[in-house]
């Protein structure tokens, strides 16, 4: 719970830094053999009289790259900038590696679509859980499981968001469309993890493994213990794959992998320490 509070505070104070995908604007990434300083680059572009360059932000990336962010540039302006940079640093081996220019309409659409996708996923999951676990009706409302799952879900989504708010504030890390993909995947994993525990609970209750009138809390606890090893192992293998991506996958995908790692790790944690206690709490209140 403490982590969740931290994330909420981090989000509240620092906020997430939306990338070009969401805000609109331009990003130009370039690679130099001999990288000029940030000031040199800014100076070179200073007198180009381009409106969008008024909020130009130049930052280094890695050991050889420079990232230039600004308002949206037309293709003509883009070419002017490229030409100017090539002329200003003739011996530095300037090569443009990436250029994105997103219109404001497209950016706000992405924001809208993302919000929709996440809400839709939440609803779909709640419904799926309620349906799949309807056999539990005799013990407690199936919505109880949905609620517990969703709270765990919120926790799992908030944690990476909080971390990225932290990163945004201190390191200027931005989120793009791929981040939303990571969040939705984390949601999928969080559910599946929680479901495994609840599956056990259901089995134990229906089959009366632990005695017909066993205290609900005990049943849940036992179920957790039974699935713990499996849960840990599963997450280890997934995390191993993700670590491989984060370490070897290259710059563009690194933060994506990071978001997934935090989220999935949190998913495992939340099934045990968030979803289950809530389930017990609701279950006990019901009976």
């Amino acid at each position: 719970m403490a982590l969740m509070m931290f994330s909420l505070i981090a989000l509240g104070i620092w906020g997430l830094r939306l990338g070009v995908d969401f805000r609109g604007g331009s990003v130009l990434e370039a690679r130099f053999d001999e990288r000029p300083s940030v000031e040199q680059v800014a100076d070179a572009l200073r007198d180009l009289q381009i409106e969008a360059l008024k909020d130009l932000a130049v930052s280094p990336a890695g050991t050889t790259d420079v990232v230039m962010k600004s308002g949206q540039l037309t293709e003509a302006e883009h070419q002017l900038i490229v030409q100017r940079l090539t002329d200003s640093f003739p011996k530095s081996g300037f090569v443009e590696t990436r250029f994105d220019s997103i219109g404001p309409a497209v950016g706000s659409e992405l924001r809208r679509n993302s919000a929709w996708a996440i809400s839709l996923a939440l609803a779909a999951v709640a419904a799926y859980i309620a349906i799949v676990f309807r056999a539990m009706r005799r013990v407690l409302s199936p919505w109880a499981m949905s609620v517990a799952t969703i709270v765990a879900l919120a926790h799992d989504v908030l944690l990476p968001l909080g971390v990225f708010a932290f990163l945004a504030h201190f390191y200027g890390v931005e989120i793009g469309a791929v981040f939303i993909a990571a969040i939705l995947t984390v949601m999928g994993y969080s559910i599946s993890d929680t479901v495994v525990v609840f599956d056990r609970v259901r089995e134990n209750i229906i089959k009366g493994h632990l005695g017909k009138d066993a205290d609900f809390g005990r049943v849940v606890h036992e179920s957790i213990m039974q699935t713990l090893v499996r849960s840990i192992n599963t997450n280890i293998t997934t995390l191993l794959s993700l670590v491989a991506i984060a370490v070897f996958g290259g710059q563009s995908i690194r933060y994506f992998a990071l978001a997934l790692i935090i989220g999935i790790f949190s998913g495992a944690y939340s099934s045990i320490f968030v979803a289950s206690p809530i389930l017990v709490w609701i279950g006990r209140r019901g009976s």
């Binding site: 690679r31 590696t97 220019s101 497209v106 999951v125 599946s192 991506i245």
Partner: protein
Amino acid sequence: MTRNAKILSITLLVSLFLFVYVAPQLVNKIPRVRVPIVPFRFGLDLLGGAHLLYQADFSGIGDINRADAMQGVRDVVERRVNYFGVAEPVVQISGTDRLIVEIAGITDVNQAIRLIGETPFLEFKEQIPDAAAPKDDSITEFLAQWRSTGLSGKQLKRATLTFDSQTRQPEVSLQFNDEGARLFAQITKRNLGKPVAIFLDGVPISVPTVQSEITDGSAVINGGFMPQEAKLLATRLNSGALPVPIRLVSQQTIGASLGAQSMRDSMRAGIWGLAMVALFMVVFYRLPGVTAVLALVVYVLMVLAAYKALPVTLTLAGIAGFVLSLGMAVDANILIFARMKEELSQGRPLALAVNEGFRRAWLSIRDSHMTTLIAAAILYGFTTSIVKGFALTLGIGVLGSLVTATVVTRAFLNCFIGVWASTRTWLFR
């Protein structure tokens, strides 16, 4: 043949076939073996290229069928894009008034953008007969000398790249339709011995002097072109006019070098991921771990073959989706093994433990895979192609995992159940 042996041999055969399909380059290294290569489809962020989003502007157009107009726009743009000769360009309508263009492996994106978005306006102009002499060399004074003849790109039937037979200079040969031929005959008759200007997009590109009256409706522009320029001009003139003007609203370009590096990185990530997971499985689960690794290999082959066959465009995020689904595939196996261990520790005989393990793990496998599939399905409805690619690879991976975990792992495990293994249950603990 026992049922298990049958399943195993089928699996082996299929795996072999899949391997040849997925990695023909490796197979071709065997001397005297020549297997056809079907390439993987890679996305922009791995090949380098551009993703362009155009907005059609219907404001000045009035009442026309929008769907038809968009189709027309799509066709014209596709013709223009084909000029670049890239493999598999994507030109598709998005929504009601947008066009997505994806060109992979292109080096000059700027040229592509200019070519795609602009309708060339070709005009023949003649000198105004009693015009005052130009006051100076400026372009406005020059333009003031000329007036429109009514002959323009509208009457153009075809433009072709030709080479002058004597000078070998590249030229653009124009062929007008009947109305154009008629007009041209009149113009040339009117202006015998005088210059006639050919304007492109408001700029004169050629000002030849009329030698004779031309009645067959054919003309040649030789403005000192480089071959590429002439070909470009012919393409632009031939592709026709855009029914609706379009505006570039969003552009994402990846340089080829970054793309190549991303490709290398993701290959490494994939292989390392596979290695680490395989190691973990064997160490922790021993013999069942080995069978899981074998099943994993089959899984990888199956999924990669599916990616190639469909085909699925692999982007960076897409490969991440694949690596992720690898984790999930292993997950399914772990569920089964965990159950098996439980059964074994409760003293059940091996064969029974295996069956029970599968039966009881099925529900958990089903639920955890379903929820991930739901997430993938929702992601697929997303706007950006990169997220879509991720959703697709993840979804296919998860489906593949469902299949291999149940069918393949089981077959492999079953073949180890025999008298030999059942007394050595330590292999399974």
